[in-house]
């Protein structure tokens, strides 16, 4: 795993003594439906007893990659901007004119960056009936198929968005409310989509021998 990303890693010792969930020693980070959001909800509450399959499977102290940082910063900024807007409106009757547009763009960043992170960890929602088959051969092939198709789709969307951005640049389209060139908004999304394609392939490669 990349060493550089370790610099980002926050040393988190999270537990929730209140819910008592950690006492149950739950949550093996098994591949699955649950992992998509549920384990994230309380993997954090679980304690050290987690078997370490591979670095990709650890959610608890998983390193902060570019896409994690982007998605987290985006959601935090969305909160701050919206809250500031509510407070300002009641205190001074002014509201931040650009808050909606910027929030929507931050949400797009959140989705595209988060999609890349989920692709890397194979956490997108799926029907697992066959995917978790007992037969190792079938399971391996299906995982391969998932990785390939995810990479393919994300690459296609990335290319189409780049093409869109080029068109927007050529026609000098502007976002009316923000007065910025539209391709400024489209291009980052295209690049994040490309990053997602790369992460899907790389995550699949890291998980290749694991059953």
């Amino acid at each position: 795993m990349d060493r550089t990303s370790q610099n980002f890693s926050f040393d988190l010792e999270l537990q929730d003594s209140n819910t008592g969930a950690n006492a149950l020693g739950l949550m093996k980070a098994k591949a699955g439906y649950l992992r998509k959001d549920a384990t994230q909800v309380f993997l954090i509450m679980s304690n050290e007893s987690e078997p370490k399959h591979t670095e990709v499977d650890q959610v608890k102290s998983r390193p902060w990659r570019l896409e994690d940082v982007l998605a987290t910063v985006a959601i935090a900024l969305m909160c701050l901007i919206t809250f500031a807007n509510v407070v300002l409106r009641y205190v001074s009757d002014v509201s931040i004119g650009w808050s909606e547009e910027v929030s929507v763009f931050l949400m797009l960043l959140l989705v595209f960056a988060g999609a890349a992170a989920a692709a890397f960890h194979d956490q997108h929602i799926r029907v697992e009936f066959l995917y978790d088959s007992k037969n190792t051969q079938i399971r391996r092939r299906l995982r391969m198929l998932s990785v390939w198709l995810t990479t393919l789709v994300l690459t296609a969307v990335a290319l189409l968005l780049i093409k869109t951005a080029i068109g927007e640049y050529a026609y000098q389209e502007k976002v009316s409310s923000l007065d910025v060139p539209r391709w400024w908004l489209t291009l980052p999304l295209a690049l994040l989509c490309g990053l997602g394609a790369w992460r899907a392939a790389w995550g699949g490669w890291l998980r290749r021998g694991i059953d």
Binding site: A76, M107, A115, R126, E128
Partner: protein, 433 residues
Amino acid sequence: MMAGLVLFGLFILCMALGVPVAVALATAGMATLMLTNAGQPWFGLLPAAQNAVASISSYPLMALPMFVLVGAIFDRSGIARRLVDFAIACVGRGPGMLPLVAIAVAMVLGGISGSAVANAAAVGGVMIAAMSRAGYPPPFSASIVGAAAATDILIPPSIAFVVYSVSVPNASVPALFAAGMIPGLLAGLALIIPAVLISRIKGFGLEESSMPRPPFWPSLREAIWGLVAPVVILGGMRMGWFTPTEAAVVAVFYGLFVGMFIHRTMTFRQLPEIFREAALSSAVIMTVMSLASIFALSVNTIGLADPLIEGIKNFGLSSFETLCIVMLLLLLVGMILDGVSIFLVFLPLLVPMMKAFGWDPVWFGVLLTMAIAIGGFTPPMAVNLLVACRMAGISMESTIPWVGWLVLAFSVATFSVMVVPELALWLPRILKY
């Protein structure tokens, strides 16, 4: 017709093979578009990518990640445990009381969080251990928690309603929120009946009677922060203080304040992890929304809805019979597919059908949400129940003897909303949404 077969055939094949739902939707949609637009530059796929961005560029949709974040924060704010103590202080101890408390607390939390999974995690974290100490079998407790959490997406705020509202423009989020209230309470009450009856008949929780009952006033004082939250969120929206999105953000700050300074169950160092978790969970849901728009684009491009509706009308089914079939179909699909995906796959077909039969969009949204709420705790693919089973350390199969009764109760509540649309439509009309 050929293109329609490719579209749905490819989608079902991909889904069966375990390809992520979002990718399956995009693969099927893009392949169909390429077939139908073969002559055009870039196979006519450019609108597909633009749709994928445009479909999630909506300000009201921002309520979704915000309410996911609210769920993640309230999960750790220590509010659930205090609500449980207070509820026990109210209803007392005895067989069947803890299941009742679990359902009631899930409903109050439903007034704060918009996601059933977060609800199951918060309630399950407290109730499953408490119920097994009192002598309830873990499969029974897990079934109760999983089913009770399903009321969350009916009781406002609700992520499901936000998604529905984005796809169905003439059903506004506030109207849907108001419409979900009574059906949500009804479903919760319907769950209490089998929960209490089964406990009484089977003699579960006999040890409970000898357990201490928390004192009323001190537990009220502890629980007050949690009890006030739904009032602030729902009342604030009702009074026009803030939009649903802003209500979610206010709830985020309220939850952080209570968790960090009042109950002291969270620290600043945990915040990055909590925010990342919420960001990734909502990104996963919204990726499906984004790529589903490619699927919807090809459904519209090949004009699939009209012949289908024509066919149903020629078949001579009445409006109510069609609705029954739609609901049964969604219940079946809900057993294997998660709620948001169901909305996104079927709404391109269901919305024209709704218009053709003149169904009220708000009422229809409530019915669909009730169907997917049931899917949330019907094995084999049941997210809420899965969370509860993980916490109880049991397999999902072991819950089957109990969960069936709860599915039945929830279905009865759903059927009454089908027969009496006023149950959903009365409140939004009174509130003038």
